[in-house]
């Protein structure tokens, strides 16, 4: 029953994304409209894929670091992506894909650094070091980025921050195809880790005694979640709160078993982002809000409500 509702919600969010928008497209002309097919449909699909990926990545990370406040962007990836993007502009790298590729590579570099930090003191990925390292690398890259922007001349560099703030403006069938081909692999890795993630909630020692290959699971979950997040940043900038809040909302109905939680987080995250993007495009039309702002504005009250519920439970 609840799955049916979730699927309906997801379909509804997608439908609204296609039907609504700042450019008035009458219902009768939807099927023929170039705006709908070239812009709205790919954008809705991309929003869904990115939102879903962030939801699953967030759920996986929260289980991995055993911290319910973990968000995919706590890992320093957004800082790396921002630095990559700003460098691409400052170095006048050309090409329509220069920014996303640079951002993706920047995110991967940050991922590598944090991973390396997480291995300090032994072969085990220590969740606390992952979190602290992520925050540190994030702050470090943000500082370098700000320095470059303030020293350099171009106003373009300041616009890079707007890009980083999250937007699905770059959505096209090209980017949808790219994400649709890329995302399934890390998603499958995360889904396959569902049971070990359940065990991990008991602590790494107990999980190991129950038969989980703890080190392998940690590595895979961390890498898969990070790769999903890196791709999300590359195509749509930093969209906060989806990865943090969606898993918690999903847990309210589906509980903590990752076998159902992860798919629910995917559908829920996709629906949320598609819906938020529709709001971003229509609320102040003809202008557009950065979608990262909308998810925060929606996410914070939801989060506050959840916190209240938590402290009661």
């Amino acid at each position: 029953m609840r799955w049916t509702l979730l699927v309906i919600l997801a379909v509804l969010a997608l439908a609204l994304s296609v039907v609504l928008g700042p450019a008035a497209v009458p219902l009768g002309e939807l099927l023929r409209s170039d705006i709908v097919w070239s812009l709205r449909v790919p954008r809705a699909l991309l929003a869904f894929l990115v939102g879903g990926s962030l939801g699953v990545a967030g759920a996986g990370l929260q289980a991995l670091v055993r911290n319910p406040l973990a968000d995919p962007f706590l890992l320093g990836l957004s800082g790396g992506a921002g630095l990559g993007a700003v460098l691409a502009i400052a170095l006048h790298l050309s090409g329509p894909w220069a920014l996303p590729i640079a951002a993706f590579l920047g995110a991967l570099a940050a991922l590598g650094l944090v991973y390396r930090l997480g291995l300090i003191g032994g072969a085990s990925l220590d969740p606390r070091i992952l979190l602290l390292g992520g925050v540190a690398i994030g702050a470090f890259t943000a500082a370098i980025t700000t320095a470059i922007v303030s020293l350099a001349d171009a106003a373009e560099l300041r616009n890079a921050f707007l890009w980083l703030w999250g937007g699905l403006s770059g959505a096209s069938w090209d980017s949808v195809l790219l994400v649709a081909l890329y995302a399934p692999i890390p998603l499958v890795v995360l889904f396959a880790a569902s049971r070990p993630l359940d065990l991990l909630a008991l602590g790494e020692e107990s999980a190991g005694y129950l038969g989980a290959d703890v080190e392998r699971v940690k590595r895979r979950v961390y890498l898969a979640a990070s790769l999903l997040t890196a791709a999300a940043v590359a195509v749509s900038g930093v969209i906060g709160f989806v990865g943090l809040v969606v898993p918690h909302i999903a847990r309210l109905t589906w509980g903590h078993r990752h076998r159902s939680l992860l798919p629910a987080a995917f559908l829920g995250g996709g629906a949320l982002l598609a819906f938020a993007d529709t709001l971003a495009r229509t609320v102040v039309a003809p202008r557009e809000l950065p979608v990262g702002v909308v998810t925060a504005l929606v996410g914070v009250p939801v989060f506050a409500f959840l916190l209240k519920r938590w402290t009661i439970a």
């Binding site: 928008g21 450019a23 329509p96 770059g170």
Partner: protein, 191 residues
């Protein structure tokens, strides 16, 4: 400060205000000038003339600049949108300098209804408003990188390659050559 100029002229913008105060404290004469729109040119010339003691030259210059600014715009024969950034799309709205140039050159800014000097809009809005030209501040002769992006090709002007590539030195800010800028724009639009 080491060079001890007689006068420092700064655009009246955020960080410059603080800089101006610092220079004044160091005993260097500083003036902040508003130079955002065509109408600011005349007063700016007069202010500089007053400060440098060249009032007559300044006055004749100011009158020429005023007439450029005050000229009634020709009827618009074409439409355009200024795209400052592509992802997210940032356009120039009503009241900014570029918008004024366009009007003076006989082109309607399709985003003239946006009150802010610049604003983020959805790509589909640009497509729906269908400007005949996409104007970009660019010093190169090549079309902007976003012209190759699939989602931008939904915009007719992008598909047809109707780009106005405006060099920053001439079109970036109001200046002595504003009149020239308007002429050039008008000529390009006529092609």
């Amino acid at each position: 400060m080491a060079r001890r100029p007689d006068l420092v002229v700064l655009y009246n913008a955020g960080p410059n205000v603080t800089a101006a105060k610092q220079l004044e404290r160091a005993g260097i004469q500083t003036v902040l000038i508003d130079l955002n729109r065509l109408e600011d040119l005349g007063p700016a010339a007069r202010t500089l003339g007053r400060l440098t003691g060249r009032n007559e030259q300044a006055e004749s210059l100011a009158m020429a600049l005023d007439s450029t600014a005050g000229r009634p715009p020709p009827p618009s024969t074409t439409s355009l949108a200024f795209v400052v950034w592509d992802n997210p799309p940032i356009i120039i709205g009503h009241g900014s300098y570029l918008d004024q140039l366009a009007t003076q050159a006989g082109a309607r800014n399709v985003f003239g209804d946006v009150a802010a000097p610049s604003a983020q809009v959805s790509l589909e809005t640009i497509v729906a408003r269908n400007p005949e030209w996409i104007a970009v501040l660019s010093d190169s002769a090549a079309p902007p990188a976003f012209a190759k992006r699939r989602e931008w090709r939904a915009v007719r002007a992008v598909r047809e390659g109707h780009f106005l590539l405006l060099p920053g030195s001439l079109f970036g800010r109001p200046g002595l050559r504003s009149g020239e800028a308007i002429q050039q724009l008008r000529a390009r639009l006529a092609r």
